[in-house]
């Protein structure tokens, strides 16, 4: 319970809302699947980790970064570089575990590199990672062209051993990572440091913490999560295509984080919220499908939900904010 007392009231309300929403949507999907002989609720549930695990895991890493007052817009490009490394290793005949390790280490390294750049250059994280979004995709394309002979823009990976993490073990990996991360957040010291930095860097410094170091740690920890997400993402796609892979992925992840109640300016939020936010966005799309709405409406509904929920939330807490401003 201490976990919830640490958060603010608005975050707790958001968690409650998302939890109720997810339950309702699951109930609705259960009802619709029980009506139809061709669809089963269990199959629908089994689908969730396969599609959702990269978003949830990358989102949890990003939550830590946003807590600490940073942001990372370049996650999709980092995943692309990690995927390209995976493809290169595969192309050179490396065994599966070497490919997974290479993919993981690349993602962790790039995220740490972002943190180092933010710390050393002193430019706002939005700019650094916006540049990274372009830079890393270029790096991935150049790497793929240079290190893979006969690379024609896409590399197809059709071996079961190389696709095991996403196709067979996604649910287990997702469960382990989520439980471990929530326990770490609830009982560990690291994430409290992030929250402190996001609330007030000055107070952090006066309390004897090193803001630059905490910021760097937040990017490193975000990388640890991003690595898992990258492995799951890369092993799920059929073809590794550096030019087009994962475009717009970062926006979906940020959407889930923000919907989960994390303050985009740092200092408040929970990882649990991010998990529920991602789940809510996915379930609402599925529920719409079962209600007979066309597949094309999916993106529009995701956007509408983000705008409506956050707009409503901000409008409710507006008076408090205006009063604070006057004080």
């Amino acid at each position: 319970m201490q976990y919830f007392e640490r958060t603010t009231k608005s975050v707790r309300h958001r968690l409650l809302f998302l939890f109720a929403g997810c339950t309702l949507l699951l109930g609705f999907i259960y009802w619709r699947t029980s009506l139809n002989v061709n669809s089963s609720f269990a199959a629908e549930l089994a689908q969730i980790p396969v599609f959702l695990s990269p978003v949830i895991i990358a989102g949890m890493g990003l939550t830590g970064i946003i807590y600490a007052g940073g942001i990372d817009l370049s996650i999709s490009s980092m995943i692309v570089v990690a995927g390209t490394v995976f493809g290169i290793l595969f192309d050179h005949g490396a065994p599966p575990w070497v490919c997974f390790l290479g993919c993981y280490v690349t993602a962790v390294g790039l995220s740490t590199c972002n943190g180092l750049l933010v710390r050393m250059l002193g430019i706002s994280p939005i700019i650094i990672t916006l540049a990274g979004l372009q830079f890393y995709r270029g790096v991935a394309l150049i790497l793929a062209d240079t290190l893979m002979p006969n690379f024609g823009g896409g590399l197809s990976i059709q071996k079961a051993a190389y696709q095991a993490p996403a196709k067979e073990h996604a649910a287990e990996i997702l469960a382990v990572v989520v439980v471990a991360a929530l326990a770490w957040e609830a009982y560990g010291k690291t994430f409290r440091g992030f929250l402190a930095l996001g609330c007030s860097p000055q107070a952090c410094r006066i309390a004897g913490l090193d803001p630059g170091r905490i910021r760097l740690t937040s990017y490193f920890v975000g990388g640890l999560f991003l690595g898992v997400a990258a492995v799951l993402f890369v092993t799920n796609v059929q073809v590794i295509e550096p030019a087009r892979m994962a475009t717009g992925f970062e926006l979906g992840v940020i959407g889930a984080v923000v919907l989960g109640g994390t303050n985009i300016f740092g200092g408040e939020g929970t990882m649990l919220g991010t998990v529920l936010g991602a789940l809510f966005l996915y379930l609402i799309g599925q529920a719409m499908l079962y209600a007979g709405v066309s597949e094309y409406w999916r993106t529009a509904i995701a956007g509408g939900v983000i705008v409506a929920v956050i707009g409503f939330d901000c409008a409710i807490h507006r008076r408090q904010k205006l009063l604070d401003e006057l004080r």
Binding site: I128, L130, F135, G138, G311, R318
Partner: protein
């Protein structure tokens, strides 16, 4: 040569504002010959230079138009991530109309109305409901992209070339005229009225701006609404050149515009901004892209990878470098 560089460097230290034009000139000097501009005789230069300028300007016209609005938004400390989707949606709405003489009295006014409405919606979310700009426009980005998909499906709508007189906007004269008109209006509004100072003040310190008597909420809504109108203009420039629109066209445009504007010396946190800098920023990005495209065509065996892929790397590096240099010059100035 070295002495010349020293003179340039000294001049730059005296006037840091010259840095951007000098960088642009250096970029042009390197990349224009690669892109096929010839310097042998005056006639050659005129012909090839005209071709080059046509390509450059018609291609970057939508971005220049959007950069004007984005500069104003960044000055107030906001950001608009939804412009790419907004341009695509306005184009999609116009694409659903019959291409005939009636297009000018039905689709075009409706497109303008659509742009204004979308911009006003963004502004209202941000000013009246107090949603942080990056989140509000991220949400509308999804919303508008989704509406594009609903309107167009997986098809590509390409009826714009059948509209009488429409392709004129895709040619050099049309693009130049549109850019000039946007600049005449925007520039005079910016530099001849209090608006620029008010926007800068808003970005610098919102509470202080309110106490100084600036109608904060109204100004924010106005800035985003103008962005919507500019998205409509950009949609016309884009469709007049491309002739077609699909649900995924112009994805990632918002980030390119932000890169260009920030490169031009506008601060993302607000409180600083320059229109001319933004245009130079857009042109720098366009010259880079054009140069690399021609290098790919004429010297493709120079490097072991596709030269065009260098574009991403260079753009990322350029952005960090530009911001870092700007930041240093601000901090030395006090």
């Amino acid at each position: 040569m070295i002495r010349f560089l020293l003179i340039v460097l000294r001049a730059l230290r005296a006037r840091p504002k010259l840095l951007l034009p000098v960088l642009f000139a250096a970029e042009l000097a390197i990349l224009a010959p690669i892109s096929g501009v010839q310097f042998d005789t005056a006639a050659d230069f005129a012909r090839s230079g005209r071709l080059y300028a046509t390509d450059l300007i018609t291609q970057s016209a939508p971005m220049i138009v959007l950069a004007v609005g984005m500069t104003a938004i960044l000055m107030t400390g906001g950001i608009d991530l939804s412009i790419g989707a907004m341009v695509a949606l306005v184009a999609a709405v116009m694409a659903r109309f019959d291409p005939g003489p009636n297009f000018w009295v039905t689709a075009v006014p409706l497109g303008l109305l659509c742009g204004l409405g979308l911009g006003w919606f963004n502004g209202t979310l941000i000013a009246r409901l107090d949603v942080p700009p990056i989140i509000a426009t991220l949400g509308t980005l999804f919303l508008l992209r989704g509406l594009c998909e609903v309107l167009l499906g997986n098809e590509e709508f390409g009826t714009f070339f059948d509209v009488p007189g429409y392709t004129w906007f895709g040619r050099l004269s049309g693009s130049l005229l549109v850019i000039a008109a946007v600049f005449a209006v925007g520039g005079s509004w910016f530099y001849r009225s209090r608006l620029r100072r008010e926007l800068l003040m808003l970005g610098g310190n919102r509470v202080a701006a309110r106490y100084a008597g600036i109608p904060v909420f109204r100004r924010i809504v106005q800035v985003y609404t103008v962005m919507g109108a500019l998205a409509f203009v950009a949609a016309i420039c884009f469709t007049a050149r491309n002739g077609s629109v699909s649900a995924t066209s112009l994805e990632g445009l918002e980030l390119q515009v932000i890169v260009a504007v920030v490169l031009g010396g506008t601060r993302v946190e607000g409180g600083n901004g320059s229109l001319i800098g933004s245009v130079i920023g857009v042109l720098m990005v366009a010259v880079l892209a054009e140069g690399l495209r021609s290098a790919e065509m004429f010297h493709s065996d120079l490097l072991p990878f596709k030269i065009q892929h260098l574009k991403y790397v260079l753009m990322g590096g350029l952005l960090v470098l530009g911001v870092w240099v700007n930041r240093r010059h601000v901090s030395t100035a006090g």
